[in-house]
């Protein structure tokens, strides 16, 4: 399980997170919602080792997440799909996928993971030898998630996978995320602007506001909370 206690993160003089505490059980899908600049991306970047924490603690099982580098956190099952279709455009689809499994140094297992990803996203399978910059936005997002799956994550951090995608594609992507969570027993933190969609598939919800937690609870309860509805769901 993921335990975050009193996490405080600064970007130079700007404090992006003020003592955030979160608890997510294994196998849960947690949606993190909040306005622009609320600190959602900062939270994920800190959990994946890209940003340094000023204060507080974060543990994933027995692992101390803070003070570790992203490349070693990946080896402990934490995988982060960063904001904005995180694929490498100059590489082919196949190479993008391979990249996620290089550290495992096991060609056989990597090939197997690749088959699983292609099974999950058949459109990637048809485009394996194409450069990633020839993909559509939705396909790129599939590729980014697929690349992350190649490193056999247990904790998946997703930053706005719906960004810039057509509603139908968003629905597909969200459904895949839910399916992955169930079938592989993943723990997922899903950061989203699309609060309604995210809360629909999530088990629990966390509302961030100006770097602090404004509300938290079961996703269903948050969906029905009048204050949350007014502020973040817009109805």
């Amino acid at each position: 399980m993921l335990r975050v206690k009193n996490l405080t993160v600064d970007h130079g003089a700007i404090r992006a997170l003020h003592g955030v505490s979160i608890s997510i059980e294994k196998g849960q899908l947690a949606a993190v919602i909040g306005a622009n600049g609320a600190g959602k991306t900062t939270l994920l970047r800190t959990l994946s080792g890209l940003n340094k924490a000023t204060d507080g603690s974060a543990t994933w099982g027995d692992l101390n997440v803070l003070h570790s580098k992203p490349e070693s956190l990946v080896r402990h099952g934490i995988s982060h799909v960063s904001e904005g279709k995180s694929v490498i455009p100059e590489l082919t689809v196949s190479e993008n996928l391979d990249l996620g499994a290089l550290w495992r140094r096991n060609r056989k297992e990597s090939a197997q993971s690749k088959n699983e990803v292609v099974e999950l996203f058949p459109r990637l399978g048809e485009r394996l030898s194409q450069r990633a910059d020839s993909l559509s936005g939705g396909e790129r997002q599939m590729l980014a998630i697929g690349r992350s799956m190649m490193s056999k994550p247990q904790l998946l951090l997703l930053d706005e996978p719906s960004l810039g995608l057509a509603p139908l594609v968003v629905e597909q992507i969200f459904q895949s995320i839910r399916d992955l969570t169930n079938s592989l027993g993943l723990t997922v933190i899903l950061v989203e602007q699309n609060a309604i969609g995210a809360l629909k598939i999530a088990d629990i919800g966390i509302v961030l506001n100006l770097g602090s937690i404004a509300a938290t609870g079961s996703a269903a309860a948050l969906r029905d909370d009048p204050a949350v509805r007014a502020a973040y769901l817009g109805f």
């Binding site: 490349e71 100059e90 990249l99 290089l102 190649m150």
Partner: protein, 302 residues
């Protein structure tokens, strides 16, 4: 006609050596965004190593790989102990481009001074392993000699090896990924710092080969102040820029283009214009085709 073909052959041989130097520069630029003037010093020092090994063993075929290893080790050493701490510390965006350039210039100066201290006025001799007498075609001697053929062969072999490494191996994929997108690479589990050091090492080996070949193709001797090496560094940079500074294929195209143009100028207009011409080409490319002659606008090439 005969003269022109000879000029082309001379240009292609010299150009293939500039290509190697350009590759050395491009590799470092791609992996760390550093304009590496120290590449000239690495080539020079490795060539001295090569000449010493040649003196001891008498074999060019031992000297060349040892020089390449020395170049790789020296280049990795410079990256690890000088550039890496420097880049980690310089958070200021304004200094980010400026500081490493000054640093590599400084390292080049230090390397030359150290070589001077070790070798003094001694000359490192690197006699060519094969004859540089041109083959005879229909009674006339052409510019293509066994030595030139060997140089072209070595360069070609290295380029094939580099292509295979970059396109077919895991470390090649890591090198490309880390240079295009370091953050995504780290999130994928790539040890980007280590990969960068490997990139510098490969660059050092390429530069060492360029230095050795430049010497055997030229005077067959090397000194710490060798003008041939200043030329090699400058022409390597010009070739890299012609090729768009991002691309290995571009570096090869740039090197060959530059070699041929300079050989033609040398043949028909005289040696005094060669340097001028090289810089003129540099400026023209920067003004007219800043992405290089094969560069794609806004796109980067593997």
């Amino acid at each position: 006609m005969f003269e022109f073909v000879n000029t082309l052959l001379i240009g292609i041989t010299a150009g293939s050596i500039y290509s190697l130097m350009a590759i050395a520069i491009v590799l470092v630029w791609r992996s760390t965004r550093v304009v590496n003037f120290a590449a000239g010093g690495i080539a020079l020092a490795s060539t001295f190593v090569g000449s010493t090994i040649l003196e001891i063993t008498g074999s060019f075929w031992i000297a060349l790989p040892v020089a390449m290893l020395a170049g790789a080790a020296l280049s990795a050493f410079i990256e690890y102990f000088f550039l890496r701490p420097l880049l980690k510390r310089s958070g200021d965006k304004n200094q980010e481009i400026f500081l490493p350039i000054i640093a590599t210039l400084g390292i080049l100066g230090i390397m030359k001074a150290v070589l001077h201290f070790i070798y003094g006025e001694k000359i490192g001799v690197l006699s060519p392993p094969l004859s540089d007498k041109g083959f005879i075609v229909s009674g006339e001697s052409i510019a293509l000699s066994p030595l030139r053929l060997l140089i072209l062969g070595i360069v070609l072999l290295l380029m094939i090896a580099l292509t295979l490494i970059f396109q077919r191996t895991n470390i090649g994929l890591s090198l490309r990924a880390a240079s295009f997108a370091p953050e995504i690479s780290r999130l994928s589990g790539i040890r980007v710092d280590l990969v960068r050091t490997v990139g510098w090492a490969i660059s050092g080996a390429a530069g060492a080969t360029a230095g050795i070949l430049q010497t055997v193709n030229g005077s067959g001797a090397v000194t710490p102040e060798a003008f041939e090496f200043s030329l090699l560094l400058v022409f390597g940079f010009v070739a890299a820029v012609i090729g768009g500074i991002e691309s290995l294929v571009g570096a090869v195209v740039g090197g060959l283009t530059l070699g041929i143009i300079l050989a033609i100028i040398l043949m028909y207009l005289g040696s005094s214009l060669v340097f001028f011409a090289a810089f003129l080409i540099l400026i023209l490319v920067l003004l007219l085709r800043p992405n290089g002659i094969i560069g794609v606008k806004g796109g980067r090439r593997a």
